[in-house]
Amino acid sequence: MISPSVLIFVSIIAGFVGALSGMGGGIILIPALTFFGLDIKQAIALSMISVIATSSGAASAYARDHLTNLKVGMFLEMFTMMGALAGASITVVSGQRFLFLIFGMVLLLSWGMSLVQYRAVWKPASRQDRFSQWLELEGKYYDQTEHRVVEYKAVRAPIGGVLMFIAGMIAGLLGIGAGAVKVLIHDLIMKLPPKVSTTTSNLIIGVTALAGTGVYLSAGFIRPGLAALVILGVVIGSFLGTRLFVRLSNQAVRWFFLVVLLALGVQMIWRGIRGVA
């Protein structure tokens, strides 16, 4: 059985790396916990509950700065929440090897995405479709670096909704925030400015993670004594990570993170193929 000191140490590291990379703690936490012998379903459930804590912390700061778009968040939340309920229910009944394989694949996919170093250059959508307009998906915020008010309109709300269901499903299935997937949908499909998409995604993640946690709680996967240590560790780690973020060069973080992701992804897939020992 995993010892409390290892548990809290692993959680701090996961929160730390998660904040540094902007990928969230879960993607590191779950492979690490299973490495130390925790059952993958329990690791997923523990991670899911810690995601509520980290996303609430970040979302609180962003909402205070008026960067979050509450309407976009509320609309998309309906889809991610349903997705998370479906995903978590699948995890409850599925086999361990399946989860290792899926997790490994999502890890390698994030690895690939970080490698290409996707950067969206945001251009405001020229015209808004009628459905998105009806949904009032628009807003403005004050950009502190550009010293101007940025106005924007979101587009393609229906496709965005469907894709967010899938993002929510991945989140619920694997106990992660899946923030990167959500940001990608906001940026590429719905044409939200990067600042708004990151901040709004954090708000959505809270409800998504709560829906997933509800399923895991009713399945009896949550062990409060372990959850307490993980929640505390991840929050401490991400707090430290956010502080350090400004001081470290981007490239150093990037390469460190790429190596970690690759190793974890390969390890998870290997354990999925070989059978979980």
Partner: protein, 128 residues
Amino acid sequence: MKISQTASRGWDMDLWVSGILRIGLSLSLTFITCGLVWKWHEVGAIRFDYSLPKTSVLQFVLEELHLLLRGTFRPRLLINLGIAILLLTPYVRVLVSVFYFAMVERNRKYTLFTLFVFLTLTYNLLFR
């Protein structure tokens, strides 16, 4: 200069969302930390591994309150309360949003959307 995206009739919803999340998280972390410190003080270790029976959040919270009223006060109670508060944090945020869209902005569409999220979460958390 900061612009609120969701403000109506002098009610700045962004600040409410921010406040609810911050207070919920701080309370939760305080309870959890106190529970761990207490446990450590009592037995010299922060190890306490116990599992919950399959339960809903409502049963979970009610059971804790029941124990509290009976005066059975122990570290486990603080930990469980901390976790319950964490779970209720996004839930309360959604509940307040329902009120905001229904009473302040009087936006029927978004009242329905938030109500849908609220009711689904309620069913999921309380009555499973």
